[in-house]
Amino acid sequence: MSTMELTRTIKYEADRVKGFGRELMKVPGCENLESCIQCGTCSGVCPMSIYMDYTPRQVMELTRSDFKNDVLRSTTIWLCASCYACTTECPREIRITDIMYELKQRAIHEGIYPKHFPIPVLAQEFMKMAHNNGRVTENWLATKLFLKTDWKAAFGMWKLGLALIRTGRFSFKMEKVKKRGDLAKLMEAVENVNIDALPNGNGHGNGGSKAGTPKAH
């Protein structure tokens, strides 16, 4: 009897979440995804592509073709370091980095990530700290990150911790903004705003001008 493990991979139209790609393209700058010719430049320059299960190019195609479930479960969107190399090189001027941000947001919003996965945890803790205090104190953020993901790993950082204390880069005090109330009020005002539902009001198509990559002079 054969002990080879076989998996059947085929994508039916039913696997598509129709409209997923279109919706994402409404974000200013992401409209160009329609023109993607799958050249692979993005994957070629991406420093993280060698670790991704789907390369950036594949993620672009899967997104455009509405394969939401595959894309939001990929490691790609978490490995993106937002270095903008892809956006700079893309011959169709597609804002790939911004599309990666969009996908990250949707994955976090829908809770699609492994438990204790550090990246969304970091993002959420960052946000909480920024909201509550107005500023982020790195060491406290790092501490919270360890506590919520892998607290044992914190012990492996003792040397670095001491070095930071020695050089005076370890902030014991939590940095805060004076007008915390103002900040809360500001963020409250955009809390439930759905940007896609807002009227354009200036006669243009959706999203205003296509935000291309400005050139160096």
Partner: protein, 288 residues
């Protein structure tokens, strides 16, 4: 010359050395930096991952405060802050919907605008406003014989290449030459250091940092000069882990360009803040 100054959270924390060395150097060059009163976190890359409208709003408070303070331009030394502030401005201008929503939110706390004040990087100001001649005049202890690898990181020339070339930026190279240092040919000038992944996903993150350190060492650099507090941290904080992982020594001191400027200007030890760095630079021949 007066600028509104936006330090950002890092420059008050692990990136202290950057602020401590930048302010004296700018003072020497006749630039006064007025810290924006009650500035808040810009959101960095983390917030963009959650909601760009909210991220834009959070950042815009600083833009509005700076505009209110009345200076013509603002300075943001931290690469991430520089990018986020610029991006928010672009976002509000390119998408009128977003611009209106943000303005509406700002009005609730008595602020408005923020898209009119240019956000500039210190390298931009030093090269294009102050000029290298003014810098050269203040060099009392040229960094002769110091081989420096200029590392720009990814955020100050991508995606907005407003003051330098995207592929092969030269502003820091020229600055370092003006300080008397020898600039090492470094093809990885704008390659990602791993960003926040060095802490969250060390496997790929540390590889990025290692690649930079290895190449700098191979090219004979004595020190790497950076502009970004996270790059500076990544490149010097993890050398133990990198050594363990890749079985290769990767100790190259990493400094902020402003620290090298301070050294060349002959400023005091406190003003060059070299003690903040984890890996010490080799001492300069004619030290202060």
């Amino acid at each position: 010359m007066k600028y509104s100054y936006f330090p950002g959270c890092s420059l008050k924390g692990t990136g202290k050395g950057y602020e401590e060395s930048l302010l004296p150097v700018m003072r020497e060059l006749g630039v006064e930096l007025e810290e924006i009163d009650d500035w808040n976190c810009c959101g960095a890359t983390a917030y963009m991952a959650l909601d760009e409208l909210k991220a834009c709003t959070l950042a815009s408070r600083n833009l509005a405060l700076a505009q209110k303070a009345g200076h013509k331009e603002m300075l943001a030394p931290c690469s991430a802050c520089y990018l986020v502030l610029n991006k928010s401005q672009h976002y509000m201008q390119d998408s009128p919907k977003v611009g209106r929503a943000v303005n509406k939110a700002l009005k609730t706390i008595g602020l408005e605008g923020g898209t009119d004040i240019p956000v500039r990087h210190p390298l931009d100001v030093i090269l294009n406003v102050i000029g290298l001649d003014a810098v050269k005049k203040r060099v009392h202890q040229p960094l002769k014989g110091l081989k420096v690898a200029p590392y720009y990181g990814c955020q100050i020339v991508r995606p907005y290449a407003t003051f330098d070339d995207q592929y092969n930026p030269k502003s820091m190279d020229r600055l370092l030459e003006a300080l008397g240092a020898t600039v090492v040919e470094f093809p990885l000038k704008t390659r990602c250091c791993g960003g926040s992944l060095t802490g969250t996903l060390p496997e790929p993150g540390l590889l990025c940092s290692y690649i930079l350190l290895k190449e700098a060492k191979k090219r004979g650099a004595d020190v790497i000069a950076t502009v970004c507090p996270l790059c500076q941290f990544n490149l010097e904080a993890y050398h133990d882990k990198i050594e363990a992982k890749f079985n290769d020594s990767a100790r190259v001191p990493v400094v902020f360009f402003s620290q090298l400027m301070g050294l060349a200007f002959g400023l005091s030890a406190a003003e060059t803040a070299l003690a903040r760095n984890l890996l010490a630079m080799k001492p300069m021949a004619a030290a202060a």
